[in-house]
């Protein structure tokens, strides 16, 4: 202070103390980036000033591969995009190609597809719930969630022999008939699941710490969500009552009664509530569908070699993560001329910056979790 040039001193301290903005590189190896997401955060203390997602570590060129495979050959590849919801991916692809062919799967196939896809939605949401809770520090729910998910995977395994990347459906319908006891298995799961999900809620929904960690975190307004093309539970939590299963019904969804849960604020807590409710709704759909699976063929009469007439089609379904679209261009040959996948995770992840700015590092983890990304789908 006795320094005659006080101004200089204050300048010096400013350069020293002002340098506290640090760049934190989260990932690609980090416990809560759900795979190989890399986020560059600019922090002021623990507050996020700026963020950038760096992706592509899992890029496998699925769209390029598609151009070199026949329509049927490509079907297993789509399972590897959102690998925790392989059934949904398969449904979207098969229906898109069916649309391109101008045909449709028989009603029995569509109902079975609906049941399996809804089970897959529950499985995907369970995985999300477990890991999201784990990110926020609740160690226990993840094991309960996996216990229930295991039941679903067992049903898949019994149905088609695979658990994760199922390739459950074929273009034109189903490869396999349902096994004996399929209905009972699904029913038993659904009956059991009703109070399981209440159990999870007792652990989290009213928990003060959970509420404190999720309420008001990562708010995304409805206008922002629409502008950023965000779909799925993230959009619905922002207050937009929009679900492709209702807006443009596919498979057999138009036959079943279910609600579209929505919330107003669009924060992490709302997204949690929406997904929990969605699991309940999926359970209801399964129960309705299992009541009366129509009899009949399971495969449409399409040839062994698929040569869709030239043209193009865009078909999308409500995958657990949001709108999963396939834009397929055919040139009349056996291989697609171009397959474009509209990956919900990829587009939802774009909203990350909007949600994360101004929040704390701890919130970043919650926000990554709440968007519910699967890097296999983001990077394709």
């Amino acid at each position: 202070m006795s320094d005659p040039r006080g101004t200089e001193l204050s300048n010096v301290s400013a350069t020293v103390l002002g340098a506290d903005e640090i760049i934190l590189n989260m990932g690609p190896q980090h416990p809560s980036t759900h795979g190989v997401l890399r986020v560059k955060l600019k922090l002021d203390g623990e507050r996020v000033v700026d963020s950038e997602c760096i992706i592509g570590y899992l890029h496998r060129g699925v769209e390029k591969i598609a151009e070199h495979r026949s329509y049927q050959q490509f079907a297993p590849y789509v399972d590897r995009m959102d690998y925790v919801a392989a059934v949904s991916n398969g449904l979207g692809y098969c229906e898109a190609v069916e649309k391109l062919l101008g045909t449709e799967a028989p009603i029995r196939a569509r109902v079975v597809r609906t049941i399996l896809t809804e089970l897959q939605r529950i499985a995907s949401h369970l995985l999300w719930l477990g890991t999201h809770a784990l990110d926020i520090g609740a160690l226990t729910p993840v094991f309960y969630c996996f216990r229930e998910r295991e039941e679903i995977l067992k049903i898949f395994e019994k149905y088609c022999g695979a658990r994760l990347t199922t390739h459950a459906f074929r273009i034109g319908g189903l490869q396999y008939e349902t096994y004996d006891g399929f209905e009972q298995d699904v029913k038993r799961f659904c009956d059991d699941f009703a109070h399981r999900i209440d159990e999870y809620e007792t652990l989290l929904t009213e928990n003060r710490i959970w509420v404190g960690r999720t309420k008001g975190v990562g708010i995304l307004s409805a206008a922002d969500a629409i502008a950023l093309g965000v779909t799925g539970p993230v959009l619905r939590a922002s207050g937009v009552k929009w679900d492709l299963r209702k807006a443009m019904p596919y498979a057999a969804y138009d036959q079943y009664k279910f609600e579209i849960p929505t919330r107003e604020t669009g924060d992490t807590y709302d997204r949690y509530v929406v997904r929990m409710e969605e699991m309940r709704q999926s359970r209801l759909i399964c129960l309705q569908a299992i009541e009366n699976i129509p009899t009949g063929p399971i495969m449409a009469r399409i040839g062994k070699v698929l040569k869709p007439p030239p043209g193009e089609v865009y078909h999308s379904i409500e995958a657990p993560k949001g709108e999963l679209g396939y834009y397929i261009v055919s040139d009349g040959t056996t291989q697609p001329y171009r397959v474009r996948v509209r990956p919900p995770s990829f587009i939802n992840l774009q909203a990350f910056d909007k949600m994360a700015r101004g929040s704390l590092v701890a919130d970043v983890v919650a926000i990554i979790g709440t968007i519910d990304i699967v890097l296999g789908e983001v990077d394709r």
């Binding site: 934190l24 926020i136 520090g137 160690l139 107003e264 704390l360 590092v361 983890v365």
Partner: protein, 440 residues
């Protein structure tokens, strides 16, 4: 021989023996607390936990220790080598030093300082340097953030926990750990019944001080990878680990001494002799408990899948049997020996019960966010601790001035403090939650 066991020599030799025993046993104990933690966690999460190494994973801690010691020791290139080397040592030294004043039973205490409690608090508060310097020296942002969080968290919660302790100190009127326990014996009641809120505040504060969930922000694995320990590996890492568990035992020991009657058995002041003998009814309890465990081990032993596991299980049963034998033997020895051995048993039992609560919290609650943690500390716990302190002091004063039962006055004080707590919590809720228009 007799001159070797003269009291003056024993006064010097015994503490050294205790110190050696503590330093030798503590890592093992920490390892087994980890095993218990994993087993409890597994039980709460509907799974089995470690089952492979030894029967029911009983040898897992040893396997872990060997693995840790054999691991590659990595020092990051741009780390501050000196501090990187020093930091875990500081942590573990301070944690071990605190044991000097911890009375594990009336006989097992290295030094009965007249400022024993303050000494433990002071030394364990120095352990923070291990974390802060280690975090800084690693030259990694995760470590640095972990260290910063840790520093802020410890300073805040030490205050709250300390204020919580003072309410018990008021009742004891001494800082010597031994005198505090004796005060509880004399008053015939554990202080937790006088100052339950003080105990609660200390419990929350001690969880935060030991960086345990839900306050494990300095090492929050989902945010900061492993916080200040991110760059550590192998032996250095295990030193941190040891320090953490040693600290857990320390805070549990403090809580046991101040609130749970230290080495006293339940109903220490009431005496009901077994008919026909001079053995107290409740003194027989420890032996029976350990005997039960031993029998259970023997019951399980033949049911183990592998021969070696059968053997180890039987050995575990045998160990329990020996302990039970010692406990029974103590019943017939002189009162000092009885108190020493059974005191240690009760003390450790209470410490582990306290640690069990730590584990239970860890597997039940999500993690706090940093600002919430600070808010909880400064705006809830510290005001509450102050109110609790004043209320307890008033209760003491009232007993002295007007007579009557202290218990009655402390109940009044607790009611007042609870009312304040509810007010604070409500106030806090208004502030912290973003107004939400409930949808649907």
């Amino acid at each position: 021989m007799s001159h070797l066991l003269s009291p003056s020599i024993m006064r010097l030799v015994l503490p050294v023996i205790y110190a050696v025993v503590i330093v030798a046993v503590l890592p093992l104990l920490a390892g087994y607390i980890v095993l218990v933690e994993r087993k409890v966690m597994a039980d709460m999460q509907a799974r089995l936990g470690p089952m492979r190494v030894g029967p029911h994973g009983l040898l897992q801690p040893i396997a872990d220790a060997v693995k840790l010691l054999l691991k590659e020791d990595i020092i990051p290139d741009k780390a501050d080598r000196l501090l990187f080397w020093l930091a875990p040592l500081v942590s573990v030294t301070m944690a071990l030093l605190a044991y000097a004043a911890l009375p594990i039973g009336p006989a097992f205490q290295i030094a009965d300082l007249n400022i024993g409690l303050l000494f433990i608090l002071a030394v364990s508060s120095l352990g923070i340097y291990g974390i802060v310097l280690g975090g800084w020296a690693s030259n990694s942002h995760y470590s640095l953030l972990g260290a910063l969080r840790s520093a802020a968290q410890l300073v805040s919660y030490e205050t709250a926990a300390g204020l919580g302790l003072i309410s018990a100190l008021l009742l004891a009127g001494s800082l010597s750990m031994k005198d505090i326990v004796i005060a509880q014996y004399d008053q015939g009641i554990w202080f937790i019944f006088y100052v339950p809120i003080g105990f609660f505040i200390y419990m929350v504060g001690s969880i935060a001080e030991t960086n345990r969930a839900p306050f494990d922000l300095p090492e929050a694995e989902s945010e900061l990878v492993a916080g200040y320990m991110t760059e550590y590996s192998g032996f250095r890492w295990s030193l941190y680990f040891l320090a953490e568990y040693a600290n857990m035992i320390i805070v549990a020991g403090i809580a046991t001494t101040l609130f749970l009657g230290g080495w006293l058995r339940p109903f220490a002041s009431s005496h009901t002799a077994l008919p026909g003998t001079s053995i107290e009814l409740l003194d027989a309890l420890p032996s029976l408990l350990v005997l039960g465990v031993a029998l259970y081990c023997f019951y399980l032993a033949p049911r183990q899948p592998v021969k070696i596991q059968k053997l180890v299980m039987a050995m575990a049963g045998g160990l329990c049997l020996i302990i039970a034998g010692v406990l029974v033997g103590a019943l017939f020895a002189s009162p000092a020996v009885l108190q020493g051995i059974h005191g240690a048993f009760w003390f450790l039992a209470k410490v582990f019960a306290y640690i069990y609560f730590f584990l239970w919290f860890r597997f039940t609650f999500p993690r706090y966010r940093f600002d919430q943690l600070m808010r909880l500390g400064w705006r809830f716990l510290i005001p509450l601790a102050l109110v609790n302190l004043i209320a307890t002091a008033t209760a003491l004063l009232a007993t002295r001035e007007w007579g009557g039962s202290l218990f009655f006055y402390t109940v009044l004080a607790d009611v007042v403090t609870l009312a304040v707590a509810m007010f604070l919590a409500k106030n806090d809720e208004v502030d912290s939650v973003v107004p939400v228009a409930d949808g649907e």
